[in-house]
Symmetry: C2
Subunit: 308 residues, 2 copies
């Protein structure tokens, strides 16, 4: 996220009064609302713009539609929430006609059906501009209470699902929102904090640490690096790709140290989970290397740290 | 709404399976969700695009921001629902900088504060394209159950709040969402059906009749015509403007015939309410004129009917 947008959001966050039924407003993967009788709701929204978030026709209309919903489902997973209803608004380029609009919705509806999410409303418009898709998703926590970014505690083990880096080779469009993994995690352990990896492993870890007012110690050798990260032909190392690339849409989460070994023993899902470090009381994020040296891991990842 | 978009929405509506907790999906002013313990939620969303829904700088950034939220609050009013939380996504033109973004949000936040609506989340982006604002609003019915478009019954009296026509002279931007009126109505009578006037009195009446599978008889002389409708200098009559213009954001609603006179007697709000006709079992919408003649009132309004 560009610095200007980050500051703008912080400005709105400071100005926007949080009133009931809203419990958690701007600043997490989703908002949290408290309804009567202890019912908790989580709500997230994303706006995808042609030329910024995707290119067309490089990316098919169906994959664009799929991704518009999938990024929101990933946010729900990061709250440990089950998505229930989605609202889809479209700014459609007139020149591409009805078949283009149908393809976008076909991609989106196929994913909605797979996760039993109802497309409950929206707003359709056309213009001479590029495609814009805005999706809002509502859901309910798997275990009654959502998991926030702000709950990490010193001593927690830090885990990540799957493997990171090189998503640009295709996974940024075809990724599976980690909803099944999030639900299983809520059954097995007490999740202290969770976020999905959209900005990059290092950047999103920093978001989680900032909101929790803690730091972390991360083992470089433990980072699960996706095979795609090594397939990219550029001067950056696979580890740097894994730390910096973004759009992995994996889950980054912390559990109490006591629960860590038990989680590793009990984990029975096809998606791997990997312990990559531990939460520390001191702020900052320290990356420890196999040779015994360590560096401060800034939000933008390792390469930038090496250049300092 | 252009015919192509109307057909596209019907296509999505047919395809989109409605699953719990969604009770009412696409097709009303807002969706209705049933949560545990009888808690009912209403959700609506609108996408406003520069060059289509507003012009800049002809319309100030603050008024654009205000309208983006206000149209959603009007939808909530049409469901007889109190808005609680809003989600605001922006595609910001880079060249206009931070001050433009601040002005949009200032206009939006001022209205949110006035109605005690929490801005609970959103998504901010910038690009070289025009301004796009997507707003989703959540709320709860004033009287536990929302009022749908589909509940009108033969014999019902048809009412409208305020006066219609000529909103283009300014009210399309500065209108007051009829939330106070909706709440008072729920206290005084049994509302059978309600919709807000965005497409035009005739068009939105047809939407209500279609969803309720009924018709209506409307008295031309009873239509409350706004002074702005007469200020427009064109060949169309003020009545035609009142029937066709759209963006009045008044409420059009029906109540049982028994409740009609009681409502008129008990009404104590500054905004007028006017009986404009009655619901009929026969489909179609008949406009009766003072001279005793009558014509079929098509969705696009009177002028088009006269040209037939």
């Amino acid at each position: 996220m560009p610095r200007g947008e980050f500051e703008f959001i912080h400005h709105i966050r400071r100005r926007a009064a949080v009133r009931p039924p809203v419990r958690v407003g701007i600043g997490d993967d989703a908002a949290v609302l408290d309804h009567p009788a202890g019912t908790v709701e989580v709500v997230t929204t994303d706006l995808l713009m042609e030329g910024i978030d995707f290119l067309w026709p490089e990316t098919s209309a169906a994959l664009i539609g799929r991704k518009s919903l999938a990024v929101n489902l990933s946010d729900l997973a990061a709250m440990a929430g089950r998505p229930t209803a989605a609202f889809v608004s479209l700014a459609l380029p007139k020149a591409r006609g009805r078949s283009f609009a149908d393809e976008v919705m076909d991609g989106l509806l196929a994913l909605a059906d797979a996760y039993e999410v109802t497309i409950a409303g929206g707003d359709t418009n056309s213009w001479d501009g590029p495609l814009v898709v805005s999706v809002t998703v509502l859901g309910t926590p798997f275990a009654n209470q959502p998991v926030l970014r702000s709950g990490a505690q010193p001593g927690d083990w830090v885990f990540v699902t799957g493997a990171c880096g090189g998503s640009i080779l295709g996974r940024h469009l075809t990724f599976t929102p980690r909803l099944a993994e999030a639900e299983r995690l809520t059954q097995l352990v007490k999740l202290h904090a969770m976020i999905d990896i959209s900005d990059g492993l290092a950047a999103d870890l920093h978001h989680l640490l900032d909101e929790s007012h803690v730091g972390a110690r991360v083992e470089a050798a433990a980072i699960p690096i996706h095979a795609d990260a090594a397939r990219l032909c550029d001067p950056r190392t696979p580890l740097d790709h894994a730390l910096s690339d973004g759009e992995d849409f994996e889950l980054l989460f912390t559990v109490p140290a006591n629960d860590g070994p038990r989680l590793l023993a009990a984990w029975d899902q096809p998606t791997q989970i990997t312990k990559i470090g531990e939460i520390t009381a001191e702020s900052g994020c320290r990356l420890h290397r196999a040779d015994g040296t360590s560096i401060e891991l800034p939000p933008l990842g390792w390469l930038h740290a090496m250049e300092d």
